[in-house]
């Protein structure tokens, strides 16, 4: 690989956005989980729900803070490294991102402080309303960010002006572009699953040392319901998203499947090594005709192969093939965990299998890995374009020196590992503490934070 400015700028974006996406993926799910916990507490009056709310609230505050600072970096990175892209797409993506900032600023800003510190100050109904608004705010952020990303994948509703900029002709068509609904559902479900697996892992971890801890039992049980219900739904949502991609970005599907030749009755390649230079997938393990059946719902359906596109129009199949398989593999494991938990639950022994508890602890980070693998699939699969079919990545980059990008890349790597390494350590030490039924509302010794404002983009 040649380390020119373009490669370095791509590495830098991949690095900073990968670090960033982890936090919103977690906080979107956690905000909704907190709303559910508080709602259950208000409905049932059981103290364990309040204790769990206070337990996860602290974890939410720390991860939200890290999401904010890593998000700030993203909002400037478009300009420093991708200035041509910013100039050309700014008239369309700028307002979408602007709405994200405004909406998130408004909803989360207004209510996060109340949620974190206001239980005693504002009373229960208003506090619950604040928690719901925080959850709604994180979803609103996701809505606008994913709309912007989807427009880059399936651009519609635009015209070009004399300066070569994309200009919105129909905002409705821009916002609700063809891949947006699928991507939104797939990502929000992914965020919910990611959070459920973390919650499940923390519950399982504490159950392994104390089978009687009520907080741990409840969070484990709730997380297993999520895995059992949401993981299969995600399979369906992912399949629909894939079919949508086949319609609009067939080259991405060909790369994900490792298909090179166009033909009827394509096999499903389970494992293999797509070789970009040799234009073939080596070491294939395949199931005949199943690929065509999954993609076209016809055993003899015709599916395009990568050779249909000239070399300079193909995404890197080696990366996309494998990132896709990592995502699907982890998703399958999540479904299995959910089914296993259902079986144990109906025998009344949900928390009594050390094997399931240990597996759930191991699966704790699997949601994050699946989210990253999924994003790598869709973003690398969009290459060699930033705006699919219209603006090449190579034509999007800033006119910058490789040294400048390289130096800032090294700085970001060092700083992120230091800062977010420490943050992850603090998050893990919060999770390491067993949940306690008398979990305090506000920590002693930590300053009170805003009952009114806090920041914007969790995304």
């Amino acid at each position: 690989m040649e380390f020119d400015a373009l490669t370095l700028a791509r590495l830098q974006f991949a690095f900073t956005v990968s670090f960033h996406i982890v936090f919103p993926a977690f906080t979107i799910g956690l905000a909704s989980y907190l709303a559910v916990l508080e709602g259950l507490w208000l409905y049932t009056g059981r103290n364990v729900f309040l204790a769990l709310f206070n337990y996860w609230k602290k974890i939410f505050a720390v991860s939200f803070g890290m999401g904010v600072v890593s998000g700030l970096v993203m909002s400037y990175q478009f300009g420093t490294n991708w200035s041509v892209f910013s100039d050309k797409t700014g008239p369309i993506l700028g307002p979408l991102l602007g709405y994200e900032v405004l909406a998130a600023f408004f909803l989360e800003a207004g209510f996060l402080g109340v949620m974190l510190f206001g239980m005693e100050r504002v009373g229960r109904p208003l506090h619950f309303f604040a928690t719901l608004m925080v959850a709604f705010g994180t979803l609103t952020s996701a809505f606008w960010i994913l709309s912007a990303n989807s427009w880059m994948q399936t651009p519609t509703g635009y015209t070009m002006n004399a300066a070569g900029q994309f200009v919105a002709a129909d905002w409705w068509a821009v916002v609700f572009n063809p891949s947006f609904p699928y991507r939104l559902v797939h990502m929000v479900l992914a965020a919910y699953l990611t959070t459920a697996l973390v919650v499940g892992a923390v519950g399982a971890f504490h159950l392994l040392s104390d089978r009687a801890n009520e907080g741990a039992r409840v969070m484990f049980s709730m997380a297993m319901w999520m895995a059992a219900i949401v993981a299969p739904i995600q399979l369906v949502a992912g399949d629909l998203h894939g079919l949508n991609t086949l319609k609009h970005q067939p080259a991405k599907i060909a790369a994900m499947e490792g298909h090179w030749e166009t033909g009827a009755g394509q096999p499903l390649i389970l494992l293999g090594w797509p070789d970009m230079a040799a234009e073939t997938t080596r070491y294939k393990i395949e199931v005949p005709r199943l690929g065509s059946f999954i993609l076209t719902h016809d055993w003899n359906g015709t599916v395009k192969g990568l050779k249909d596109w000239p070399r300079n129009e193909r995404p890197n199949a080696t990366i996309v093939f494998w990132s896709f398989r990592i995502m699907v593999g982890l998703g399958t494991l999540m479904i299995l965990v959910g089914l296993w938990s259902l079986w144990l639950r109906f025998r009344g022994r949900l928390t009594e299998s050390p094997a399931l508890l240990r597996l759930t602890v191991l699966m704790g980070p699997s949601g994050f890995i699946a989210v990253l693998a999924g994003w790598i699939t869709t973003e690398v699969g969009r290459q060699p374009y930033t705006v699919y079919g219209l603006l090449r990545t190579a034509d999007s980059v800033s006119p910058i020196d490789a040294q400048a990008v390289g130096a800032s890349l090294v700085a970001f790597i060092v700083v992120y590992f230091l800062v977010f390494g420490a943050g992850t350590y603090y998050l893990l030490s919060l999770m390491h503490r067993p949940p306690d039924l008398s979990e305090p509302d506000i920590e002693k010794g930590v300053p009170t934070r805003a009952a009114g404002i806090t920041p914007a983009p969790a995304l």
Binding site: Y76, S86, G98, V167, A404, F412, A450
Partner: protein, 337 residues
């Protein structure tokens, strides 16, 4: 249609100018507290100083995101030119803000490593402030543009002038921070804050004067804007008001007033900002791009303006409410177990 675009671009320029001013004032004092952090007497004082901004800092920083996001949406060409031109200072600022931002949370999660996050907070704040000042200086000096792209070198931002503006902004933020501490604390810490305010106040005024003297010589447009007849009738009040604000600052410090120094420091910043506005208008990237050169098409400006006009007043309302809720002195015992 053309007139509509003209008006929309002007409205957006005003909105973004407002967001940047709001950022400078709001985040200015909490960055200033970071800059003063190493000079505070002990851990207890540092806890108090940090508590005085902990409830509001993250809301303050969001104005920076709003400014950057607004620039991308309303003036994409300006965004695309300025960011590569200021590559190094912007990157340094972002890294500085990362270090200081996480310190607010992390500092309370550790006992024996607390000093590390103290330094992270102090150095991060200082680096962010100097980088912003350097970026401002580089912008005043002018950014060359050719074919819708930055056309200068990678070290253009680094000059004696930009180093002076970097220093000026850092000392100015420290003044805002010191006067904020006078307002929010009492006792020994407040006394110390008064001494800081004297030193940084004198430093800020000296540097405002120096920058104002150099600026007109950087570009004939600036010179004409300030000194040509009859423009001087409109521009002359600015330095006069600066002198009045300076008097109010030192009078307030001498008379041991609590709010006056902070308000006077804010007035100094607002006046300097108005001065910059007089020099810049109608350029968004002097001397290359006016706000109309860089404006996004009317459809984009209209689409986001609807949301901005509804939500920005609400956000301002929240902000005022939050400052009201957390008004009064910081409780000196709040950070003890």
């Amino acid at each position: 249609m053309l007139d509509l675009l003209t008006d929309l671009a002007f409205i957006w320029a005003a909105l973004i100018a407002f967001a940047v001013l709001a950022y400078v004032l709001f985040d200015g004092f909490d960055l200033g507290i970071g800059i003063l952090f190493p000079f505070l007497a002990d851990d207890h004082d540092r806890d108090q100083a940090m508590n005085s901004v902990a409830p509001v800092w993250d809301g303050n920083e969001t104005w920076l995101i709003l400014g950057g996001g607004g620039l991308l949406a309303a003036f994409p060409l300006a965004y695309a030119v300025v960011m590569p031109a200021l590559y190094a200072p912007i990157t340094a600022m972002l890294l500085g803000l990362v270090f200081r931002g996480v310190a607010f949370e992390f500092r309370w999660r550790t006992q024996h490593r607390k000093y590390l996050w103290d330094w992270s907070f102090a150095l991060g704040s200082l680096v962010a402030a100097i980088a912003q000042g350097i970026a401002l200086g580089a912008l005043i000096q002018g950014i060359p543009v050719a074919n819708r792209a930055y056309a200068g070198g990678w070290w253009n931002w680094l000059t004696w002038f930009s180093l002076i503006t970097g220093l000026a902004l850092a000392i100015g933020y420290a003044l805002l921070g010191a006067t904020w501490l006078i307002l929010k604390t009492s006792g020994e810490l407040q006394e110390q804050a008064r001494r800081f305010a004297w030193i940084t106040g004198l430093g800020t005024l000296a540097l405002i004067g120096l920058v104002s003297l150099i600026t007109p010589f950087l570009d004939p447009i600036f010179m004409q804007r300030w000194f040509a007849w009859p423009a001087i009738l409109y521009t002359a009040p600015v330095p006069i008001f600066v002198a009045l604000a300076a008097l109010a600052l030192f009078w307030g410090l001498r008379r041991r007033r609590e709010a006056m120094p902070f308000l006077a420091a804010i007035a100094l910043f607002v006046l300097s900002y108005i001065g910059l506005g007089i020099s810049f208008y109608p350029y968004v990237v002097p001397p290359s791009l006016t706000i109309w050169d860089a404006a996004a098409p009317a459809s984009s400006l209209k689409f986001l303006l609807v949301g901005a006009l509804v939500l920005i007043p609400l956000i301002l309302g929240y902000t005022i409410l939050a400052y009201w809720v957390f008004r009064g002195k910081v409780d000196p015992k709040a950070s003890y177990h």
